[in-house]
Assembly symmetry: C2
Homo-oligomer: 350 residues x 2
C-alpha cells in the first residue's frame, strides 16, 4: 500500500478537518505550511465563492491542501406540510426569544451541488479533493483521476468504506462516533451509523485495501498513538482547531468548546436535517421536546439560515450550531501553526 | 498506583465481562483457571440463587473470580397508566406472533436488590465485587473494605468515574459506547452518556487516580494494544465470550452474534427499561415504531419476562435480547479457555 505522505506530498500524516463556518483560508494555509494537510470546506458554496477561497488559500501557501465537497444527492421531494409546521415552530421560537423571523419560501431555495464546483477545481489545479455525504459520480471521479487529483472519501461504517473503495477513492477518512460536526453517512437517510472509532477503524482496515485517516476524538499523544495502532495511516483532527486564532467560530462557540466535557455533545438533526454532533444547547432541546418532523437536508438547513446567521452575528450560543467532538474540551486557544506543531510532536516514531 | 494484577491476584490483566443470561459458572471458572479474571453476574438474583452460583463456580476453580451486582436504587413510583399501555401493546404483539401472553401484575413484582446479597458475598468470602448501574452504599462499601474485598465500579462518563472514586472503588471499568449489554450509566435516568471509548478512556485516566479496565469493542491485538495506549491497566471483554462453549446464550443468539457486522447493534430501552446495546431485531423495531413510554427499569424488565423466556426457550431471535457490542461479529465458537488464551497472547509486552 502506498504511503500516505507520499500520496499527499506532505511531511506529516495529519489532516486538519474541513469545518464550514470554522475553517478559513488562513487556517488551511497555516496547517499546510507546517507540513501537514489543511482542508478547505467548499460544501454548498457557489463556484465563485469556491474559486475566491481557493485563491485566497493559494496566496498564503505553496504547499498542497485539500478542498472538501458535499457529495450528496439533492433532497428528496419536498414535503410542504412538514416545512409549514417547522416554520411555524421556528416563528414561535423567534417571537419568544425576540429574534427577527424571516419566513423562507421553499420555491426559492438555492443550493449549490458539488457538480457545479468541478470545473473550478480542475481549473485551479486543486491536488486533493475530500468529500463527505456520499460518493462522487463516475464521470467526475474519472475527470479527477485523469488529472492526478487524489480523492479522499468519508465512511462511518464498513459498508460505506467498501462502496468508496469501489468508486475509486484513494484514501478513506474513517469517522468514529466521537467526531464533531456532520456525520458523513450516506447509505441510509433516516439513521446514521454510530460506531465508535475504537471498533470501526480496525474493522474498516480489514475490509478495504486503502490508507485510512482516523477521525474523531483525537487530542493527545495517547489518542494519536492509538489511531495508528488501530490501523490508521494518518489522523484527521477537527475540534482542536475550533478555538484557533484563524478560526471563524464566534467567541461564544469557542468558549463553549473550551469548556466542554466528555458528555457535552449530542447528535442532532435540528440545525440542518442531517445528523451532526454538537454541544447541546437550548435550540436542540426545544426541537427535541417539540418532536416534529425535521425536513431533510438541505431543506432544514435553509429554513434555519436566518436564525443561524442572527445567532452567529449576535454571539448567541443557544441558537448557533456549535459542532464539536467528544474530546473538544481538550482544545486550547492557539495559532493553527502551534496546534499543528503540537500534533506533529505527538506522532509515533516511524 | 498499584498494579492491577497485584490487586486482583491474577496473572493477566483480562476480565471476562459479567453477562446475565450468557455467563455460566463454567465460563467464569475457565477464564479464571487460565489466569485471567472471570466475572459471575448476580444482578437481580435471590440470595439463594447467588449462593448456589458462587458455590458452583468455586467447585470449578481455586482462582479468584469477581461477582457482579446491579447497584441501582429501586424503580421510581410506578406509573400504572404507562404499564397498562405497555401491557396492551405486548398483548397485541403476542397475538400477532402467536405467543402465549401472561399479564403481569405490578403489585406482585419482585426484584432482588443488591443489598440482599451482601451477607452471602461476605459469608462466601468473595474476593472481588464489581458493580454497575450505580454506587454501592456507604455501609456496604465499608463492610467489603474491612474484609479486603476489591471493589470495581463501572463508569460511562468522567463524572461517573469521579463519583465512583470518591465512593471508594479500587478499580473502574470504563465502558465505551461500543460495549454490548446494559449501559452502566447512573447519573441520569433519562439519557445515557454515549462517549466512544477512544475519547472516554484517556479523559477518565486524566480525571481519576485508579487503575482502569477498558470495556467495549475489544477483539484483537490492535484493540488490546490501543486500550493500554489510551490509559487502561487492563481490559474487559464480553462479546467475544457470547458464542463460547460454556455460554448460556441460545443458538439463535449465538448465530446472530457470529454474523453481526459493525452496524448490527443499536441502543434500546425496549427489553428492560434501561439503555442497552444489542443486535437490532423485530421487537426493538416494533417498540421504536410504537413510540409509547417504556416504564423504567426494573418494571419493563418484569413486564417482558414471559415473552423473553418464551423466545429464549423457542430460540426466536426476534424477541430475545441479543446483547452484543460493536465488534461482536469478530467472535468465534470456542471454549472459554481458548478465547482467554487467545486474548492473553494479544497482550502487549510488559
Amino acid at each position: 500500500m502506498a504511503d500516505l505522505k507520499t500520496i499527499l506530498h506532505i511531511d506529516y500524516p495529519i489532516v486538519q478537518a474541513p469545518m464550514l463556518g470554522v475553517t478559513t483560508p488562513a487556517m488551511v494555509a497555516a496547517v499546510s505550511n507546517a507540513g501537514a494537510l489543511g482542508s478547505l470546506p467548499l460544501g454548498g458554496l457557489s463556484s465563485d465563492k469556491a474559486r475566491e477561497l481557493i485563491r485566497q488559500t493559494k496566496a498564503l501557501t505553496d504547499r498542497p491542501f485539500a478542498v472538501n465537497l458535499f457529495a450528496h444527492a439533492p433532497a428528496k421531494e419536498v414535503n410542504r406540510g412538514d416545512i409549514a409546521i417547522m416554520q411555524e415552530f421556528l416563528q414561535e421560537l423567534c417571537l419568544e426569544f425576540n429574534f427577527p423571523f424571516e419566513a423562507q419560501n421553499p420555491d426559492t431555495f438555492q443550493f449549490h451541488y458539488y457538480q457545479e464546483l468541478i470545473d473550478v477545481l480542475l481549473e485551479e489545479n486543486v491536488p486533493i479533493v475530500s468529500s463527505t455525504f456520499g460518493v462522487l459520480n463516475e464521470g467526475i471521479t474519472a475527470a479527477f483521476k485523469q488529472k492526478g487529483v487524489v480523492l479522499i472519501g468519508t465512511a462511518t461504517s464498513v459498508a460505506e468504506a467498501k462502496v468508496l473503495e469501489q468508486a475509486g477513492a484513494d484514501i478513506i477518512t474513517v469517522q468514529g462516533i466521537e467526531a464533531g460536526g456532520h456525520r458523513g453517512s450516506f447509505l441510509s437517510e433516516d439513521t446514521t451509523p454510530q460506531v465508535g472509532l475504537f471498533s470501526l477503524l480496525p474493522q474498516v482496515a480489514d475490509a478495504v485495501d486503502l490508507p485510512l485517516l482516523a477521525a474523531g476524538g483525537i487530542y493527545d499523544s495517547r489518542t494519536v498513538k492509538s489511531a495508528f495502532a488501530l490501523g490508521a495511516a494518518g489522523i484527521q483532527v477537527g475540534s482542536m482547531f475550533i478555538a484557533a486564532d484563524e478560526s471563524a467560530a464566534s467567541n461564544a462557540y469557542k468558549e463553549a468548546v473550551l469548556n466542554a466535557h466528555d458528555t457535552s455533545t449530542v447528535l442532532t438533526q435540528a440545525f440542518s436535517g442531517r445528523w451532526a454532533r454538537g454541544i447541546e444547547n437550548e435550540f436542540m432541546r426545544r426541537m427535541d421536546a417539540k418532536g416534529i418532523t425535521i425536513p431533510y437536508y438541505t431543506i432544514q438547513n435553509q429554513l434555519m439560515s436566518s436564525i443561524r446567521a442572527y445567532a452567529q452575528k449576535n454571539n448567541l450560543p443557544d441558537f448557533v450550531a456549535m459542532w464539536a467532538g467528544q474530546s473538544a474540551g481538550k482544545s486550547a486557544r492557539a495559532s493553527s501553526r502551534d496546534i499543528t506543531t503540537k500534533l506533529i510532536r505527538m506522532l509515533p516514531p516511524n
